[in-house]
Structure formats: C-alpha cells, structure tokens
C-alpha cells in the first residue's frame, strides 16, 4: 500500500511537470515585467501590457529575436511599489528572465529600478517619467517617456499667451505627480505666473470637494492636476458639482485616455492634458499599430499602450545591436541607441533619462480627443476658454 502511494506520488509529480503551464523551451528569450492589473493604476497598466504583448506577437511572427522565440512572463503589482519590488526580485532570481521591461507608474518604477540596479540588470522603463528616478546614479534604468517635469509646459505657455496669471495646482503625493508639480512651479516662475493654491492628496483620495471649495475661493485662471486617471475623472466631476470654473483645466494623466471621455461624457469637453503619444502622430508604424490594436482590443490605443509597444521595439533594437541578451552588452547598446519607433524617438542621456522624445498636449473637443499642441502636429485648434458649467 505504502509503495503504491509513493508510486502514485511520483506519478503525480511527473504529470505535474509535464502539464505545468510554464513551458519554457531552452531556446526561448524570456522577457519579464510586472504592471498594475488591479488597484489605482490598473487601467493604464493593462494598456501598457497589451501594447507590449502586441510587440511580442509581432516579433515572434517575424521569426523571433536572434532567431529565438520571445516569451513574456508578467505579474500584477497591484499598483503597489512594495509588491513591484518583490516581483522584480522574483523575475530576476526565480524566473531567471533574459530581459526586463519596467512596470507602470513612476511610483512602482522607483522601487523596481532599485531591484534591477541591485542585480545590475538593464531595464527598459516604459510608463515612468519622474526625473527623480534617474537622479540616483543608477546605470540600468532606461526611460521611454518624456519627463514629468515637462508635462505642463505648453499649457502654462498657452496661459501666459492668453494673459492668465493665477494657477491652482493639485497633485497626488507620489513620485510622478510631484515631479509634474515641480515642473509646473518652475515653469510658472519662469513665465511670471503665480501658483495661488497648492495641495497634495493621497493615492486613495476619491473626494475632492473640500479642496475644490478652497480652490474656488482663490479664483484661479488655470487649474492643473498632477493626476492619474481615477483622480482626474473624480476631480472634474466634483468641479462641476461645486461649479468650480477656470479658463483652463489640465491634467497629467487622464484626458489622454479614452476612459476620460467615457466616464465624464460631455463634462470632459474642453479639458486639456498631456500625452506621450497619440495614434495620429506621424511616426513610422504608429497608424498600423493603432489599427491592429483596435482590431484586437476593441478600442484605440492610448499612449500607455503605445509606450508598451514602443518599449518592445527599443528592447528589440538594443538586443539586435548587441547581438546577444548578455546584460552588459544590452546595457551598453540601450545607452547608445538613437532610434525612432512607432512611439517616437528614443535617446537617453548618461543616466538613462529620456531626452529625445517631445511631449504633446490633447484636448477633448466634441466628445473626441485631439492633439492641440504643439501646433505642427495638432489635429485641431485649442478651444479657449473652458466653457462655464452653466453655459453648456
């Protein structure tokens, strides 16, 4: 009986190994990433992953990378930096991945990049833009996004050109929104505008009414949010409820995503925001990517998806240039690469910080998202000023 039991146990172990879902052929190139699939950054994280997945499919259809198939291992970091750090540790030590893609959000990237640095493992970081990430002397984090500090530059310039003076600035208390805010303050000072109201809020904040009542008392001309999607939507909704009015409303993350318009409907009208990328930009392969993405996932890609896709191409170019997945060689080629992908130009400085890619600005006009700044790539003219709630 005992013998039969142990035989049974042995058989089940063998069976488990055979049907185990991790079918990694010795020759596969394994790319690891963690993105937020739950929690506050879920929507944007999921988009980034889907964009990246699309690159994986394409590269495999083209015969793989260095003649090998690419396999993606991904986890959900729950929008939490501490979970992200654990997962990158796992990707590097347990899963023994060959290449790394960064998580979504500057917050989680701060933690994940520390793990990558510890293992001296180069990581292509899509979805992070706070320059703080590249100010720690790390050698393994290579950014794709235009820096957060530049997110509101042209919005403030627009305000200046229209003769506006007073800015109300609100932002989440994590790395990226704080970087956006510090950029706003620098730019405002440079152009002679005043930040008349400034307040941070927590990652879990859903109620901004008390804040809005205070902002209202300051009568700002421009309201700028260093935000992510959920907070920008909640803020606009409550701005309407409290009849907060300003000539310009602009948010860091939010208006650049289709969800912003879906959630707010007509109340999104006139709201401006930053975008890293739009399907309408004249970039090689952007249009094709956008069409394929729409066919596969049922909606147009936003810039988070574009970033994931672009990260794949940057990684591919770096590996090809290095002709190997050797960490040192990939790191060297990521540092010196200067290419234009469907996501835009990739060129980093000595710290790995993105310096080649410009920023773009969108505005919601008649229920659609249009690029309005800079003028040379605009698909519509800026609508100014923001229409008062009572007159809509």
């Amino acid at each position: 009986m005992k013998r039969r039991l142990s035989l049974f146990a042995l058989l089940s172990v063998v069976l488990a190994i055979i049907v185990s879902p991790v079918v990694t052929h010795a020759k596969d190139i394994v790319v690891g990433t963690s993105v937020a699939l739950t929690g506050k950054y879920a929507r944007t994280g999921q988009e980034q992953l889907q964009g990246f997945q699309m690159w994986v499919d394409e590269v495999n259809a083209r015969g793989g990378l260095l003649g090998q198939q690419v396999k993606l291992v991904h986890y959900d970091d729950e929008s939490k930096p501490e979970t992200g750090a654990k997962l990158y540790e796992k990707l590097i030590t347990d899963d023994k991945v060959d290449l790394l893609i960064g998580p979504y959000s500057s917050d989680v990237t701060m933690a994940a990049s520390t793990v990558a640095e510890k293992h001296n493992f180069p990581m292509v970081s899509s979805g992070a833009s706070a320059s703080e990430i590249w100010e720690r002397g790390y050698k393994n984090t290579f950014g794709l996004y235009t820096l957060a500090e530049l997110y509101m530059d042209e919005i403030i310039e627009l305000g200046k050109a229209k003769g506006l003076r007073k800015i109300a600035l609100i932002y989440e208390n994590t790395a990226f929104p704080r970087a956006v805010a510090s950029g706003v303050k620098t730019k405002a000072k440079q152009l002679g505008l005043d930040v008349v109201f400034e307040e941070e809020y927590g990652k879990a904040s859903t109620d901004f009414s008390a804040m809005i009542i205070k902002i209202k008392a300051k009568k700002p001309d421009i309201v700028i949010g260093g935000s992510y999607l959920p907070d920008s939507v909640a803020f606009m909704r409550q701005a309407k409820e409290n009849r907060l009015y300003a000539k310009i409303f602009a948010f860091a993350v939010g208006p650049g995503l289709p969800d912003f318009g879906q959630n707010l409907g007509l109340d999104a009208e006139g709201v401006m925001g930053n975008t890293q990328w739009e399907p309408t930009l004249k970039l090689p392969g952007a249009k094709e990517f956008s069409e394929k993405y729409k066919a596969k996932y049922g909606h147009e890609p936003g810039y988070h998806a574009g970033g994931g896709y672009g990260a794949g191409y940057v990684l591919e170019a770096a590996v090809k240039k290095a002709s190997s997945t050797d960490r040192d060689k990939v790191r060297a080629s990521l540092a010196s690469l200067d290419i234009v992908t469907a996501f835009g130009r990739y060129k980093v400085d000595a710290t790995g910080k993105q310096i080649g890619k410009p920023g773009y600005w969108v505005q919601w006009l008649s229920g659609e998202r249009h690029v309005v700044l800079p003028a040379e790539v605009a698909t519509a003219k800026v609508a100014y000023p923001f229409k008062d709630w009572g007159k809509r």
């Binding site: 879920a42 999921q46 208390n173 109620d207 008392a217 909640a234 309407k240 409290n242």
Partner: protein, 291 residues
C-alpha cells in the same frame, strides 16, 4: 483668511453632512449585525459594492436610473443576505471571534474576485444626476444631496422599525440577550436571518447611492470598511444610533479637516477621531460594547 467666510463654512458643513449620511447608512448595517450576533462582517463593504455594480449593470444594460434600481436592489440584497445568514454566517455565530472574522473575510475575497472577473479592475461610474443647483451662493451637488437624503431616510426608517415594530423589538431583544429572548419564545435563528438580510439591504442601498457619487471598482471596499470600523467604535459597538451619529460626525469632521488642513489629513481623520473618542469615552459615544 477667506476660509472663515460663512458661506465657505456652510458649504463645507453641507458637504460633510451629506457624506456622513452615506457613511451612517453603511455603518449602521455593520453595527446592527454586530449588535445582534457579535459578528464583525468584513464583507459588508463588498455587499455595498454588489449594490453599486448592480446599479451600474442596470444602468448600462437597461438604462435604469439608480433611484429606480434601488427598488430592485434593496429587496434582492435582503433576500441574498437572509440566505447568506442561514448558509454561512449562522454557522459562525457564537463561535470564537476569529472564526467569524475568517469566514466573512473569505466571503469578501470571493466577492472581490468575482467582481474582478466580471467587471475587471477598471473604475466604473453611473453618469446620472450630475451637476448642482444653487441656493443663493451655495452650490448643492445633485448626486450628493440625493444620496445623502435617501441614506438618512433609510437609516431613520430602519431605526424606527427597530424601535416601534414588533419584529424590531424582537431584534433588539436578541441583541440584548439571545438566550433570554429564546426563552421568551423568539425564534432567534429567524431573527438573525432577518437582521443580516436588513444589513445586506442597507449595504446594497448605500452602494447604489455610492454609485451616483463616486467612481468604484471591485477593490473599493477597503476604504469604506476601514471608515466603518472607526465609525462603529466611535459611536459604540453594536449601537445603531451610535453608528448614525458616528457616521455623520466623521463626514463633517472630514470635510472641515479637508477644508482647513488638507485632503490628505482628511483621510487620517477617522483614526484620529477614533483614538480621541477611545481616550475620552472608551465605550464610544453611545456606550454598549459588551462582547
């Protein structure tokens, strides 16, 4: 300082009262269950989200206004709660506290994950009742005033039911002393089922009200359940009116702290208030708390 102008103070007060009424509706249900069976229902906020997603589904598929779906969701959750009690909760009543905590925690995990499967982790909202109306200089948000007033009516309604009706008296009797109530001929098991049904219905109603104010996703419960814990401890564990007062108090204090300090501080208020009340009145505002 412009913050001290009367209309700003009044504006903050109204916002706080309205938010507090919703908190109260949710917390009263939680406290009712605790009062009657000494079970802390960790899945209470998830039952609320069942209501919120119910309103979302009925709105997106059938175009039903949340105020109409309220009439459907409340009875459905009552029945669901009634049977949930007989199938699950009844088994952990009068057992060590940890047993019921684990059982309801498990239930909340199941509900969250079913929610994630059905609705993904995206934020949802029900875009009706938007905007506000003006009373003089005051702006009164339409969704908040609707949610606040309905929540208050429901809470007061349940309170009157508990105080005045025969069944309500039976519920209070079981809450006082289950054994004595049983000796007096009260079907304790039935009363518990009724109580849990009512609490689930209150949570569901709070969810429908929540859906017109905030965006939500299947994991939103945690923020609310934490506030509810603070509220019932502030108000007095097991005391229905205590939770009502505690909820409104929390809403108002949050609004004022948000106004005078910052929104970040407003999120910590529940716990600061909790510590303060425990220091001054360890049994909570309305006493009780014999476990």
């Amino acid at each position: 300082m412009e913050l001290l102008e009367p209309d700003i103070l009044l504006q903050l007060l109204i916002g706080g009262l309205l938010a507090g009424m919703l908190y109260a509706l949710l917390a009263c249900g939680l406290n009712l269950v605790f009062g009657v069976m000494r079970v802390i229902n960790l899945a209470h906020a998830e039952l609320m989200l069942v209501g919120a997603f119910g309103a979302y589904v009925l709105f997106t598929i059938f175009g039903l206004h949340p105020l109409v779906s309220l009439l459907l969701i409340v009875p459905v959750l009552f029945i669901a709660g009634y049977y949930l009690q007989s199938v699950l909760i009844e088994r952990v009543v009068e057992r060590p506290m940890l047993t019921s905590l684990l059982a309801t925690y498990g239930l909340s995990i199941i509900l969250i994950n079913v929610g994630l499967l059905l609705f993904s982790a995206d934020f949802k909202s029900v875009p009706v009742l938007q905007g506000s109306f003006l009373i003089g200089e005051l702006t009164v948000s339409k969704p908040r005033v609707t949610a606040g007033v309905i929540s208050l009516l429901l809470t007061v309604g349940v309170y009157l039911f508990l105080e005045r009706s025969h069944l309500g008296k039976a519920i209070r009797a079981v809450s006082e002393h289950a054994q004595v109530a049983a000796i007096c001929g009260i079907d304790v098991r039935k009363i518990r089922m009724l109580t849990f049904g009512m609490a689930a219905a209150m949570a569901g109603a709070a969810g429908v009200m929540l859906s017109v104010i905030y965006s939500f996703w299947p994991g939103s419960g945690i923020d609310f359940i934490q506030k509810c814990f603070a509220i019932i401890i502030i108000g007095g564990m097991g005391n229905f009116l205590g939770a009502l007062y505690g909820g409104i108090l929390l809403g108002v204090v949050e609004a004022f702290v948000g106004g005078f300090a910052s929104t970040q501080w407003a999120e910590a208020v529940a716990y600061l208030l909790l510590v303060t009340v425990l220091l001054i009145r360890p049994t909570g505002l309305k006493g009780v708390a014999r476990a």
